[in-house]
Symmetry: C2
DNA sequence: CGCCCCTATATTGTCTACAATTTACAAAAC
DNA sequence: GTTTTGTAAATTGTAGACAATATAGGGGCG
């Protein structure tokens, strides 16, 4: 379902597990945005030593989910309109390139699967289940990113900023009027990829993300004025 | 000079220093590409405990300079044609966006300074000192990136992939026939930024990096056939 | 002779204790 | 009453010891 992570070949080490748990708790808002993260507290809470907590927090910092200051400590990332805009500017840039490369590098079979995924999601949304949009949208973007076959790009998006994107979405309670609109945009992007039209695929993906940003941004602003 | 790092507010902690030293040694090739990095060895070599070596290596991993496998160890990143291409695709995407945002967000004073930097470099290169091209080019890109005023973008580029770019350059012994050509491209980019033409600034930056990639790529391929 | 398994060694992962720094609080000076 | 300064508590940074895992080598078995 919302299987976004694809974390590790084998999520073995304790630091790995703690990292994943912490990340989930942050994204879901269980650990509130901006909150101070005490190493000792987390150590007892997750039943591991401070060393592995520190290791996990290092990785979380690389994902922009926590901010650390030397000798002071770590805080959960804070959400803001400015931060959201900056994040989506990066997304627009990177995912635009991902779509371009996907049009170039995806196999015919992968493209066929992408089409299948799309129509499957469409069937579900037809019945008004807007929850699926969230997972479906992420799935779609996820596949295009992997389709780029560019490891750096994949790392930066999947392990880097995508969990922060999820954090914004979850904590804003997404699922909105953009459901059907977004589906049309997805469809056009896939068409461009199917036609191996790199230029168009990039342009459509960039616009899609730009629209998405404006949508969330409006929601966030209206929430602030409550 | 080649002051690329802008490391920390105050580079205080031992892990910070070790991280910076290790990074320099990797970029300069003092620690060879692909080489195994033993925590114990590095610990004695740099005169710190294994804990700080591990902390430093975690950060190096985030910068794509070392690769770690659980229970196996860390290696210095390996250089390859494919890796270079992927890296420059990411650069093209992110720095293109940076140029766009710089055209939007740089102050008039910052743009004036950028112009000054450019003519200063031009004077030096006129006298055939090609070394300055390396530092000058990085300086130029550095300023545009900062001019974007997008913290995520800045982090990903400056702390993220830029040291890997330097590693490729240093170990390929850059400084080539592209010196004057690149200067023209820089000039045009600055002109677009001065005119606040976001669209053109992005396009020119992307082409500039694309050309640069082709240049280095050719060099790398000709080296392989030796 | 080649393959597999088992053991010894080395390396990484984790834990606990100690050192250094920051933060909070209170007392003293203005 | 406000500000400054010194001391105590709490938190992070660092070090070293122990546990778990992977690697290499040798011996046994087919």
């Amino acid at each position: 379902m919302g299987k976004i992570t694809l974390p590790f070949e084998q999520p073995v080490t304790a630091a790995d597990k703690t990292f994943i748990k912490l990340r989930a708790d942050i994204v879901e808002g269980d650990l509130a945005a901006g909150q101070k993260l005490s190493e000792a507290e987390l150590s007892t809470k997750y039943g591991v030593s401070r060393a592995v907590v520190r290791e996990a927090m290092n990785r979380l910092e690389s994902s922009f989910l926590v901010e650390r200051k030397a000798n002071v400590g770590a805080r959960v990332a804070t959400l803001s309109v400015e931060g959201l805009i900056e994040l989506y500017q990066v997304r627009e840039s990177l995912e635009g390139m991902a779509a371009r490369l996907a049009a170039k590098n995806m196999t015919d079979k992968e493209i066929a699967d992408l089409n299948k995924l799309l129509s499957k999601h469409f069937d579900k949304v037809k019945d008004g289940e807007s929850y699926y949009q969230e997972a479906g949208d992420l799935d779609f973007h996820y596949r295009v990113i992997l389709g780029s076959k560019n490891q750096h790009l994949i790392d930066m998006l999947i392990n880097g900023i995508y969990h922060l994107v999820r954090m914004y979405r979850v904590q804003l309670g997404m699922a909105g009027p953009r459901v059907t609109t977004a589906f049309d945009e997805h469809k056009h992007i896939v068409q461009a990829i199917s036609n191996r039209d790199e230029e168009l695929a990039e342009m459509l993906m960039r616009r899609h993300i730009l629209y998405s940003k404006n949508n969330i941004e409006n929601k966030l602003i209206s929430m602030q004025s409550n």
